[in-house]
C-alpha cells in the first residue's frame, strides 16, 4: 500500500502534481480551446525551467525565457496531438527548452529525439505582417468555418471527433474544411493584394 502511494506521489511530482486523470482532463480541455489548466501548471513552473536553461545551457535570461516559451508551445501542440502521454512532463519541459536554446545558439540544428518523443519539424518563420492579415481574415470568416478551422488547426481536435459532434460524416467535414481554407485564403489574398 505504502509503495503504491509513493509511486503515485512520484508520478504526480514528475508531472507537475497532475494525476493521470487530471492530465487526461487537461488534454480534453485543451482540445476544446480551454488552456486554463495547462497554463496554470506550466506557467507556475516556467521560472524554474528558465533557471534550469540558464544554468544548464549557460544562457542569458532572454534566451532561456524564449527557449522555455518555445518549449511550452511545443509541448502544448504535442499534448493536443496526443504525441505526449502522461509520464514526466517536468523532465520534458526542461529538456525541450534546452534543445530550443541549443538550436538558438546554432549548436544543434536538429532537435534530438527524446525518450519516446518524436522530434518536431522546425517551425516556419512567418512575418508578423502576414500573421496580422491572417488573424484579421480569420476574424472575418463566417461560421461555421471559423470554429471548424480553430478546432481543427488550433486545438488539434481530430476530424473524426468533430464529425461525430456535428453529426456528419468525416468525408463531408473534410470537404467543408477544404472550402473553409480556400475561403480564408481568399480573404487573406484580398487584404494582401490591397
Amino acid at each position: 500500500m505504502k509503495s503504491t502511494i509513493t509511486k503515485t506521489t512520484n508520478q504526480a511530482d514528475k508531472n507537475f502534481g497532475l494525476s493521470l486523470e487530471e492530465f487526461k482532463q487537461m488534454v480534453e480541455q485543451m482540445r476544446s480551446g480551454d488552456y486554463q489548466l495547462y497554463e496554470q501548471v506550466f506557467l507556475k513552473h516556467f521560472r524554474s525551467c528558465v533557471d534550469y536553461v540558464m544554468f544548464r545551457c549557460k544562457a542569458e535570461y532572454g534566451e532561456a525565457y524564449d527557449s522555455s516559451m518555445d518549449a511550452m508551445l511545443d509541448l502544448c501542440r504535442r499534448i493536443k496531438l496526443g504525441r505526449i502521454q502522461y509520464g514526466n512532463l517536468r523532465f520534458l519541459f526542461t529538456r525541450v527548452a534546452c534543445q530550443y536554446c541549443n538550436q538558438r545558439k546554432k549548436e544543434s540544428q536538429i532537435l534530438e529525439e527524446l525518450d519516446g518523443v518524436e522530434p518536431e519539424p522546425a517551425r516556419p518563420d512567418v512575418p508578423e505582417e502576414l500573421l496580422d492579415i491572417l488573424e484579421e481574415s480569420l476574424d472575418r470568416i463566417e461560421e461555421p468555418c471559423k470554429s471548424l478551422l480553430q478546432q481543427f488547426y488550433f486545438y488539434k481536435q481530430p476530424l473524426k471527433e468533430l464529425a461525430a459532434l456535428a453529426g456528419r460524416t468525416e468525408v463531408a467535414l473534410r470537404k467543408q474544411k477544404q472550402r473553409c481554407l480556400a475561403g480564408l485564403r481568399n480573404l487573406f489574398m484580398k487584404k494582401y493584394n490591397a
Binding site: R47, Y61, Y65, P124, E135, Y153, F154, L181, R185
Partner: protein, 228 residues
Amino acid sequence: MKTSEKYTQPQLSGKELEKTSEEMLDALHDRQLRKRWQQQLTDDYKMPPRRRTTIIRKLRPWLAVAASLALILSVVYLWPVTPKDRYALLDEYLAQPFANKEGRKSDAILDSLRSYAIAAYTQGDFSEAARLRQQLVDRDSAIIEEDVLYLGLSYLYQNPPQGEAAIPHLERASQWSFGKFTAESRWYLALAYLQAEQIPTARELLQEIAASNWKSGEAEELLRQLPE
C-alpha cells in the same frame, strides 16, 4: 520556398493549400498563445520577456569606465582651483633652467672661460656662471649671442632671482642681429621684467608674445594675473 511565400502565390493546389494553411494557422495560434502567456508571466509571475538588468549587466564594464571618466572630469573641472598668481607662475616658468647646448660647438668657439661658464650653468651654479659670462661680455671681443643670453639667464636663475641685473643682457640678446634665440630671449626678458616688478613693460612684451606662436599660452596666463 518559405511557407509564407508559398501561401501568397496566386495558384495553390489542394494539398499545398492544406499544408501551408496548417503551418500558417499554427504560427498564428503560437503567436496568440505566446502573447497571452507573456502577459500572464509578466503580470502574475513578474517575469517579463527581457530583463532590463541583462542589458545593464552587459553594459556594466562600460558604465564603470564612463563613471570613472565622469568622476575624473568632474574633479578636474569642478574642483575649486585657485588661479595661480603671477609669482607662482613665475616660479613655475623659471623652475627648469633653459638648457645650454653650447657644449656641442667646436673648440674654436668655446674658449676655456666659456667652457667654465657653461659647466657652472649646467651644474646650477648660476652666480659663478654669471660671473664668468660677465667676464666674456666685458672682453667685448668675439662675443656671441649665447654669451649675453646665458648671462641674463644666469642672473635670472639665481636664488633669489636677479631680474634687474638680467634685463639689460636679455634685452641685448633679444635684439641680436639674426639671432637664433630671439624668441627665447624675449620670453625670459618678459619674466625678468615681471621679476623686477616692471609690470607695464612686461605686459607690453607679453602681449606681443601672446600673439606669437611660441609661449603664447603661458603669456596669456601671465597677462590674466597682472594687476590692472
